[in-house]
Structures are given as C-alpha cells and as structure tokens.
C-alpha cells in the first residue's frame, strides 16, 4: 500500500506519543522508578504552581511583544515596496527575508553578541552617545516598572512588563518575523485590484481613507494568516531563550513555558508533570486558534 510508510511513521511517532503523553500526564514518573498513577495531580500541581504561571506570563509577554510589531513593520515595509515602478524592490525583499531563513540558534548568537553586557556593540554605542551601559541580558526589572520607577510607583507583577532581557529576545523574534510578514503582505497588496482605488479617488477619498477602508480590509486574509502562524510559533519559542539565557534569565524572567517544560523533563526528570504542562500548552494554543477562527475570521474579507 502506498500510504504504509507515511502511516507507519505517523502512527509510531505521532499517534502513539500522543496517547502515551496523555496517559503519562496522569502519572508521576522520574524515569528510574515505575510510573505511579496520580490522577489529576500533575495538572493541579501546575495550576497551583507560581513558576508555571510566571512562565505563562512571560510567554504571553513574548507573544504580545512579537505579534503586533511583526505585523505593523511587515505591513509598513510592504506598503513601501508595493510601488511597481520603483527600482530595487526585489533587492529589498531579498534582504528583508534573510533573517527568516536564518536558524533561530544562529540569530540568537548574533543578538547575544550585539547585546552582550560588557563588550556588546549596543553598549559601546550608548557609551559613545554619552549614556550609561545597560545590562541587557541580566536585568530582571520589567520595562514598564522601569518607567514607573521614576515616579516611585511599584506596579503589580502582571503589569510590570517583560524584563529588559526578554525585550532583547522579543526584538530578535521581531527581526526574524518582519521579512515573512512583508512578503505575505506584499502578495496580499498585489492582489488588490486598482479599480477599488480608482473608484475611491473619483469619490474624493484621501490616501488615509483609502488605506483604512480599502487596503486594510482587503488585506485581512493576510493579517489573519500571519496572526495564526505567528501565534502558534511564538507560543513555542525555545532555542533563542536557551542561547541567550541558558539558566532562564535574570530571576527566571525569560523562562517561557517550553523552557519550563524542558527543564522539568530533562533537569528534574518530572516526566509526568512535564507532559501535563505540554497538554496545558496545547490546550491554550488550541483555544486561542479556535478563538481566532471563530471570532476574528468573521471580520476577514475574503473576496
């Protein structure tokens, strides 16, 4: 049978692990002794654990940092590149897409070096401009809290914002996503027929109105696609975190959910607990994706 190879591999390496993970998430198991059935204990433990919720918060910071900026800059560059008579469009597109093909590990190495606490070029530049060097990769304070420090106000934890270190990792995420968003938006823009704009011009619409009432709604399928793609990928960020902050960052402020899961499984060997976390993560991603399909897709204009 033609589907045997694919079927076999998917069965052994996808279906079986899925069932296995599900069963093990109800067990306590440290890999050396026999698994012990504990019911919902792993799930309850996760939901009661402060570090679990902190990792969730840091993950959400990452997602909320990366998503909007990737989309906005992608759209911005795509609008600039849309001009058909302009020279060099393809060169710009080629350059903007380079970070997309770069491996996250290599990209993280590059950013790690730029933002290195002592010798990074970011600090050299700040010093040159007369500023104080910044400990990019070891500052646990949230950026919003930093702002409010000037007014001697202490914000509640959830409002303190991503730590400066997390912001560097968010910046890396944006850098790797912008080119992708640009290319997707560019394709979207090129499929919008000129007749819409011509009709709007006849009615005396300003450029801003054209953008708001024609471009943006007609681009909504691209936006929706990017939103889904970036959400799913951002919730699973891991490699760059491990390169830039191998120990989970200052006061663990970059310990996102997958990093937390990895450490639970392979540093502490809490296998059952790690799998329960994986299911909670999957549930979350699934819930968000379903939400996006249910509530946002209605607002998408498919021509």
């Amino acid at each position: 049978m033609f589907i045997t190879p694919t079927g076999l591999i998917i069965t052994v390496f996808v279906f079986f692990p899925l069932v296995y993970a599900f069963i093990m998430s109800f067990h306590s198991w440290n890999m050396s002794s026999a698994p012990m059935y504990v019911g919902l204990k792993n799930y309850i433990m996760a939901l009661e654990s402060v570090s679990f919720w902190n990792s969730m918060l840091y993950t959400v910071y990452y997602v909320l940092g990366v998503l909007p900026f990737s989309l906005i800059f992608g759209l911005f560059f795509a609008l600039l590149l849309k001009d058909n008579d302009m020279r060099g469009t393809s060169i710009y597109r080629m350059i903007y897409f380079m970070p997309v093909v770069t491996s996250p590990i290599a990209a993280a190495m590059g950013f790690n070096w730029i933002f290195e606490n002592q010798m990074g070029i970011a600090n050299h530049l700040i010093e040159k401009l007369g500023g104080q060097p910044v400990s990019w990769l070891s500052t646990p304070t949230g950026i919003l809290q930093m702002l409010f420090n000037h007014f001697n106000v202490v914000l509640p934890k959830i409002l303190q914002g991503p730590s400066l270190t997390m912001c560097v990792i968010i910046l890396l995420g944006i850098w790797q996503n912008v080119g992708y968003a640009t290319v997707v938006y560019l394709a979207g823009l090129q499929s919008i027929s000129d007749t819409y704009y011509e009709a709007a011009s006849l009615d005396g619409a300003t450029n801003w109105k054209k953008f708001w009432h024609i471009t943006l709604p007609l681009l909504s399928p691209s936006t929706f696609f990017l939103l889904i793609m970036f959400t799913i990928a951002s919730f699973q960020v891991f490699g760059p975190i491990q390169i830039m902050t191998p120990a989970g960052g200052p006061l663990n402020t970059t310990s996102v959910i997958v990093f937390y899961l990895y450490r639970q499984a392979f540093s502490y060997y809490n296998m059952g607990y790690a799998m329960a976390i994986a299911f909670l993560l999957m549930g979350l991603i699934l819930a968000i994706t379903v939400f996006q399909f249910r509530f946002l897709e209605r607002r998408v204009n498919y021509e």
């Binding site: 049978m1 033609f2 589907i3 045997t4 190879p5 694919t6 076999l8 591999i9 998917i10 052994v12 390496f13 996808v14 279906f15 079986f16 899925l18 296995y20 993970a21 560059f77 600039l80 302009m86 710009y92 350059i95 897409f97 380079m98 970070p99 997309v100 093909v101 770069t102 491996s103 996250p104 590990i105 290599a106 190495m109 590059g110 950013f111 070096w113 730029i114 010798m119 070029i121 050299h124 040159k128 790797q176 996503n177 912008v178 080119g179 992708y180 290319v183 919730f235 699973q236 891991f238 390169i243 191998p246 899961l261 296998m271 799998m275 994986a278 993560l281 999957m282 699934l286 994706t289």
Partner: protein, 275 residues
C-alpha cells in the same frame, strides 16, 4: 511639478527602506566582522566596524578545537536524508490520497491532517522515550526517521496531485502502466515545482532544527550544527570571535542556497507557513 514631487517621495521611501535594510543586515554584518577579528581587537574600545587586521584564526580554531566539520557533515546527512525520505513518503501517500480508492480514505486523510495541529513539544518526550527503546539515541536513524514523513508534506503534495488532469494518466493506464509506474513516469516529472518546494522547506527545517537533536544526542560526535553551535556557546566561555565564526559557518550553507534559489525559498516558506 507632480513628477518632481513623486521623485521626492520615492527618494524618501528609499531612505526608509535602506534604513530598514541596514537594521536587517546589521546582525549578519557584525557577526561576520567579529569572526575575522583577533581577540585583542574584539576587546578593544573604541571598536572598529571592520576588522583592521583581519585574521582567519577563529575559523581555524573552531575546526581544530571542536569537531565543527563533523557537525556540518552530520547536519548535511540528516537534512538530506530527511528531505529525500519526506519527498518519497509524501509522493506515495499523496498519490494514494488523491488517486487510489480505498476504504476509509478520507477519514484517514483527515486524521493525518489533524496531526498538524499538535505542537511538537507535546510529542517530543514520548518520541524521545520511543527512540530510546529502539536504541536509537545518538544515531542518525534517531535524528531522521521520526521526521521521515509528515502530514504537512503529504497534504501539500496531495493538493498539487489533485490539480493534475486525469486524462494524462488514463493514456498511460491503457498502455498497461501500473499505479507505481504512473506515479514515477507521469506524476513525478509534472510535480517538480511542488517537490522542489517541499525539498527546500524540509531541508531548511531539518538544518535549522534544534529541540529534537538536543533531546536525543548526548555525545559530541553526533551533534548537528545547530546543537554544536549551542553547546559551544554554553560550554565555551566568552570566545566571541570563535562563536561568531561558528555562527557564520552554520548559517552560510542556507544563505548560499537562499541566494541561488531565492524565489523558491520565498514561495515555499510562504506557502507552507514554515519558518
């Protein structure tokens, strides 16, 4: 008047786009620049953008100190084999799902599709345990086989196969070709664009993958390039010149391929949503 205005606008656009391009390129530039600097020059303040006394020492060092060539070879073997197997398995299953009639075909297809929704990290721990059971820890099989077939490639190729007109194969069937011959002689040549798309993203995905090798490789000689680079970073102190040389070496193969097949890259990554 209007013409002059548009020249100004265009000039302004170029200014913004060039600034954007500089930001995009800077991390590449800075990594390459650092990789050619001596230790003394790296620590020098004020810094120089371009190495004053360029040296190959960092490159020589990474190939001497750690088995970087071996890492590259490992990645090359794993990525090529994964790509080849993914194309092979996808062709077979896509053909079955688009042309052959068998019981439960659509059901099986939808079940396959559903697996695309499962986040990789969820499966990785049990996958690790299975691979360990097979005795495949620290082996090429362990790195390759779990990813030798994916629902995504099957789905992608099936959509392409569905668009191929039936008339083409009818003639071949009348001439006495069996399903397998139809697949090789008719579908394979027509599907070259779709297959090259799969080839690019499989290869790139495999080359850049990190989590899976991290789990199942624990001896230096089986490390892939990404893993080698990451371990080098965590074990290597502050050898920034060598780190950057390693980063350049790890990135170069994909970037070279990208420059030569740019359009295919952009197309395949955008189509599949893979990064």
């Amino acid at each position: 008047m209007n013409e002059r205005k548009s020249i100004w606008i265009r000039g302004f656009k170029h200014c913004i786009l060039i600034s954007g391009a500089i930001l995009m390129l800077f991390p590449f530039f800075w990594s390459v620049s650092t990789s050619f600097k001596s230790l003394r020059e790296i620590f020098r303040n004020p810094f120089s953008l371009i190495p004053i006394h360029p040296t190959f020492n960092n490159y020589v060092a990474i190939f001497n100190k750690i088995p970087f060539a071996r890492y590259l070879l490992n990645s090359f073997i794993v990525a090529s084999a994964t790509t080849f197997l993914q194309i092979l398995t996808a062709m077979l299953s896509a053909y079955a799902f688009s042309r052959l009639n068998f019981k439960g075909r659509n059901l099986i297809f939808y079940i396959f599709l559903a697996t695309m929704m499962i986040p990789g990290q969820l499966l990785m721990i049990p996958q690790y345990l299975i691979v360990a059971k097979f005795g495949w820890i620290n082996t090429y099989q362990g790195l390759i086989v779990p990813y030798a077939a994916t629902a995504l490639t099957t789905f992608f190729l099936r959509q392409f196969f569905l668009a191929i007109p039936k008339d083409l194969e009818d003639a071949a069937v009348i001439d006495g070709c069996n399903s397998f011959q139809v697949l090789v002689k008719i579908f394979l040549p027509i599907s070259k664009p779709a297959i090259s798309t799969i080839a690019i993203f499989s290869f790139m995905w495999s080359w850049n993958s990190y989590f899976w090798p991290l789990l199942i490789v624990n001896v230096p000689k089986m490390r892939t390039i990404q893993l080698g680079l990451a371990m080098f970073r965590t074990e290597g102190g502050i050898q920034w010149g060598e780190f950057m040389a390693g980063t350049v070496v790890a990135t170069l193969p994909i970037l070279i391929a990208y420059f030569f097949a740019q359009k295919h890259f952009v197309k395949s990554i955008t189509l599949t949503g893979l990064k």
